[in-house]
Amino acid sequence: MPDAESRLKSLMLASLEGDARAYRELLQAVSGRLRIYYRKRLGAGFADIEDLVQETLIAIHTRRSSFDRSQPFTAWAYAMARYKLIDHLRRARVRAAISVDDCEELFAVDETEQAAASQDVERLLSGLPEPVGEAIRLTRLQGLSIEEAAARTGKSATATKVSIHRALMRLSAKRGTQSDADK
């Protein structure tokens, strides 16, 4: 995954021309990202996550004419996801009478920092060999266990653990920080 934005954007441009194959690939990639996005904000056990993912996919489909071909794709898709998230929380407030105004503010701030932080993380990870970067993404960002990540990448659990450990050491050395990668 050298540059997610340019890959997704070229898929989107092809989709707008009617390329169903590119579109299927795009929606699959986006649904994975949406799942992570909602899981991070609502908690992994949250039952409505798949509903939200599907609702957002449908919105992307029916409102694809709001995509400006000269603008980035990910910002557009995440703005859709964020709107659906806030809408969901607003409806949940009606059900549970929780103030959502605070939540909106919280997410607005979170959004910007999150975006900047994940860009930083992506930049750091892109400096690593692909399998190691992937292993870190799976365990540290998507919250899989070492075993699950090992199963996905087809390596042994021990090898995965060691390579993650080494890579994190190298990353923290690269950033010049003293943060202990062990924790």
Binding site: Y23, R24, L27, Q28, S31, L57, I58, D68, Y83
Partner: protein, 213 residues
């Protein structure tokens, strides 16, 4: 439904998407709504009797200059806000510029006039009905703009509603100038602006409901 099934379903439903920009589609809706408003003016109020001469006069172009500048700025703002990630940027300020300019012009015109002339300059002879007629004429335009915006993905619904109301009001004011024979800047700055503000405030109120998706 499984998400993978949904993706298959959506991919099967995919049609090539027109390249028309958002601005283009909003402009089409303005022409459609504006023509309805124009027919309403011509049928119910009639064009001003001196229209042929008036279109060559500077007061007429003062009115059209003001309302067309507002139209352009509001159109740009609506197009920006129709995208989910669209932020208003400096466009609200751009929208305020024509208003500020005409206010300055109005103050100058009042300043150089003798005290006795000031009230007629400001009130003309249609001050009280002008805003309401513009607001009424904006209805078909507002409806067609909202209808188009609903097909896009605005996320700041209140501001988008306000911008859509401004746009509808500005186009309605352009159309109304075909009938209205007022020619002073104090009049236009006050009563035209008030007429445009009515749908704009309405948009601020109904935006979150009318544009929700």
């Amino acid at each position: 439904m499984q998400t993978s099934d949904l993706i298959e379903h959506l991919a099967a439903d995919l049609r090539p998407t027109a390249r028309h920009s958002i601005v283009h589609r909003l402009a089409v809706s303005l022409v459609a709504g504006g023509l309805v408003a124009l027919v309403l003016v011509l049928v119910s109020l009639g064009p001003r009797s001196d229209l042929a001469d008036a279109v060559l006069s500077s007061p007429f172009w003062m009115k059209w200059g003001y309302t067309l500048a507002l139209t352009a700025a509001a159109l740009a703002l609506c197009a920006r806000l129709a995208r989910p990630e669209g932020t208003p940027g400096i466009l609200p300020i751009v929208l305020a510029v024509p208003f500020l300019l005409i206010c300055i012009g109005a103050l100058v015109q009042l300043g150089v006039a003798s005290p006795a002339q000031r009230a007629p300059l400001w009130l003309g002879n249609s001050a009280l009905k002008c805003p309401w007629i513009i607001a009424a004429l904006s209805v078909p335009i507002f409806a067609s703009v909202l209808w188009v915006l609903r097909q896009f993905a605005p996320t700041n619904l209140r501001l988008t509603g306000f911008a859509a109301g401004c746009l509808a009001g500005a186009v309605a004011a352009v159309v109304y100038a075909v009938h209205c024979n007022e020619s002073t800047m104090p009049f236009v700055a006050t009563w035209y602006s008030a007429g445009i503000l009515i749908p704009a405030l309405l948009g601020l109120v109904v935006g979150p409901r009318a544009l929700r998706w």
